[in-house]
């Protein structure tokens, strides 16, 4: 039972701990990426990953299982896939999701299709971990939110954790899954502190998390947008507007049941997302509501997303680009008022 005493740690720490537990428990698990050991070929200290998530792994499990690579995402994502097809369980880190462009074929055509092309015979226990999200001045090529784009590829599961325990728990489920899972961490949330159980229980892929119970409107969001949504909801609560917040956690498969059940009650939907305004995750959720929850709705479902442009660099520009909690409040005000 002492295992169940909650600990406090950041998302980065929870992920680091989960990596340690996974490599300890599963001899077939390996980790592959750039600078995840860090200092390869040098005589200094290990870097342990750009965000510290892989710290200490190499010195504990050795560099044959924790593997630094050249800057060759196509080659090493493909290597992870091949390893997964032949009996290993690789966690491949792609530093930023913006970099999937350089290795997209290995994701779109190779990893996503391997099981199907084998007529179902081959397991592909491949995890690709990457980061997403704007807000820290990293500009157009280190700030994108490509969870929706990735989730549209048949054959891939996509998860986005927004708490330390979900991060650790989803990583564990991803590793256990027989098919490729892409996990995107929001960079802005790595420092977020939360309770985790010491043994980091797995969190099932495909199940959302009810963040806040409410009755007037359903709000779906992940990552930093979830943080802002929660803030907005607190403000709205003071004024008597009751927001139900769902963190889907899993982008694909999506917990449509949870969303539709919530809509039965609230009859209104707002999706807040950093992904693209057209054809992104927000549209996917809207489509679920419109196609399958139409009769529950009492008003048009709405989305709040950034303008349909690349992520800008300057601080004011980036702040204006991202949906703010104030914008969420006014959007909900508007939606409540319209009826």
């Amino acid at each position: 039972m002492s295992e169940k005493t909650p600990l406090q740690m950041t998302i980065a720490q929870a992920l680091n701990r989960a990596h340690h537990q996974i490599l300890e428990a599963e001899p077939r698990a390996i980790v592959i990426g750039e600078d995840i050991v860090g200092g390869a070929g040098l005589d200094g200290k290990e870097l342990g990953g750009v965000f510290g998530v892989t710290a200490g792994l190499a010195s504990r499990f050795g560099t044959s299982r924790v593997i630094d690579t050249p800057i060759s995402e196509t080659a090493f994502v493909g290597m992870g896939l091949g390893a997964a097809m032949t009996g290993l369980k690789p966690i491949v880190e792609v530093m930023f999701c913006d970099f999937i462009g350089v290795c997209f074929d290995q994701i779109l055509n190779q990893a996503a299709k391997a099981r199907y092309l084998s007529g179902g015979r081959i397991d592909v226990p491949l995890v690709i971990r990457t980061t997403m999200g704007a807000g820290d001045g990293s500009a157009a090529m280190h700030s994108q939110s490509l969870h929706g784009l990735l989730a549209s590829v048949p054959g891939l599961s996509v998860v986005c954790a927004s708490t330390p325990s979900d991060a650790a728990g989803l990583l564990k489920s991803a590793l256990a899954a027989p098919d490729p899972v892409i996990m995107l961490d929001h960079k802005g949330l790595y420092g977020m502190i939360g309770d985790v159980e010491a043994d980091l229980p797995a969190v099932p892929i495909g199940r959302g998390r009810l963040v806040l119970k409410g009755s007037d409107i359903t709000l779906v969001a992940i990552g930093e947008m979830l943080v802002r949504a929660t803030k907005a909801a607190a403000q709205l609560a003071e004024r008597g507007v009751s927001v139900e917040i769902i963190d889907p956690r899993s982008i694909q498969p999506l917990d449509t049941d949870m969303i539709l059940t919530s809509l039965e009650k609230t009859k209104r939907l707002l999706v807040v997302d950093e992904g693209p305004s057209y054809g992104g995750f927000a549209d996917r959720v809207i489509a679920v509501a419109a196609c399958d929850g139409y009769s529950a709705l009492s008003a048009a479902p709405q989305k709040l997303t950034p303008p349909h442009t690349p992520v800008p660099y300057g601080r004011l520009l980036e702040a204006a680009w991202l949906p703010s909690s104030e914008a969420i409040v006014s959007k909900i005000d508007e939606m409540m008022y319209e009826e």
Partner: protein
């Protein structure tokens, strides 16, 4: 049976297999286009002879019928997959460019030029970590040699010391483009060597030598745990895809390695072996043809 004769037998079987696939294609029994390996059989059989699945794993290009067979995949299941039949390796889901028989050491073939190469690096990594003496080999063309995926993987394999054999079949053509044009006349074997690998040329017309050379270089990869590279010259005897009107090849007439090989054998014996192979290939393809077309299963969307 002596080595050369059995090489001839296996290669003849593949040649005949492709021929019967071509016949089936003409008759309208193949869903899409097929890229036949005719001309490269000898090299493929010679190299695969030193590889044993599932410990060793091979990946190949769009032109991999022969390679899958050379690794020992069931000819009927291979033919059935190419024909989109129920009994196919992947129940007709994958098709001609997606042959998968890892139990035999044929991990995958690929529709994206070069994409099979990084995947083989993964099989090599598994072999390295499992430390059971396995290696991986990956076959690709002169056209693929210019793809980032291939070039990156050469570097990766050197950097990480992966037991991975790169086999480039240089047939002088990538679709309708000459290899010389596509690589600006670069010496592709020397280019691979410059990545820091052992790299050798293999004469695709010299069976005995190819077998010996393969055994040696595969032994090197196995023992050293390091990558190596083979450039094999082979002819492309049947168009980019079967049925192509290859007008861009004006006066092209390539020698046939199998004919050369046959000449070095006792002609009566060779002919008998060839006829047997022809018969076996005929039987395999017609057995496959007799299977029902692959059809949807009610169960899971996953395998439709």
């Amino acid at each position: 049976m002596n080595t050369l004769l059995s090489l001839y037998k296996e290669a003849s079987f593949i040649r005949a297999f492709e021929l019967h696939i071509a016949v089936a294609s003409e008759a309208g029994h193949v869903p899409g286009l097929v890229h036949l390996c005719s001309g490269a059989e000898l090299v493929e059989v010679a190299i695969c002879r030193s590889l044993t699945g599932p410990r060793d794993q091979v990946t190949g290009s769009h032109r991999s019928h022969g390679l899958a067979l050379a690794m020992g995949a069931d000819p009927v299941a291979v033919a059935a997959e190419i024909l989109g039949r129920k009994g196919g390796l992947s129940k007709g889901r994958g098709g001609t460019q997606h042959l998968i028989a890892p139990e035999r050491g044929f991990l995958a073939s690929n529709g994206i030029v070069g994409a099979q190469v990084p995947v083989a690096a993964g099989a090599a990594l598994t072999a390295k970590l499992m430390a059971a003496g396995g290696i991986a080999a990956t076959f690709f063309g002169d056209g693929a040699a210019n793809q980032g995926a291939v070039l990156e993987t050469m570097n990766l394999a050197v950097s990480l010391n992966l037991p991975l054999l790169f086999v480039m079949e240089n047939n002088g053509l990538g679709q309708s483009t000459s290899a010389d044009y596509a690589s600006g006349g670069a010496d592709l074997c020397a280019r691979a060597a410059a990545f820091g690998m052992k790299a050798e040329r293999m004469d695709g017309y010299k069976g005995a030598r190819a077998i010996k050379q393969s055994a040696e270089i595969i032994d090197y990869v196995r023992m050293s745990g390091k990558p190596a590279f083979i450039e094999a010259n082979v002819p492309r005897l049947s168009g980019h895809y079967f049925g192509e009107k290859a007008d861009y090849l004006a006066h092209h007439e390539a020698d046939d390695p199998l004919e050369d090989l046959a000449e070095s054998l006792d002609s009566g014996v060779a002919e008998r072996v060839r006829l047997e192979a022809e018969q076996a290939a005929h039987d395999a393809v017609s057995d496959a043809l007799n299977m029902g077309e692959a059809a949807p299963e009610k169960s899971a969307e996953v395998v439709l």
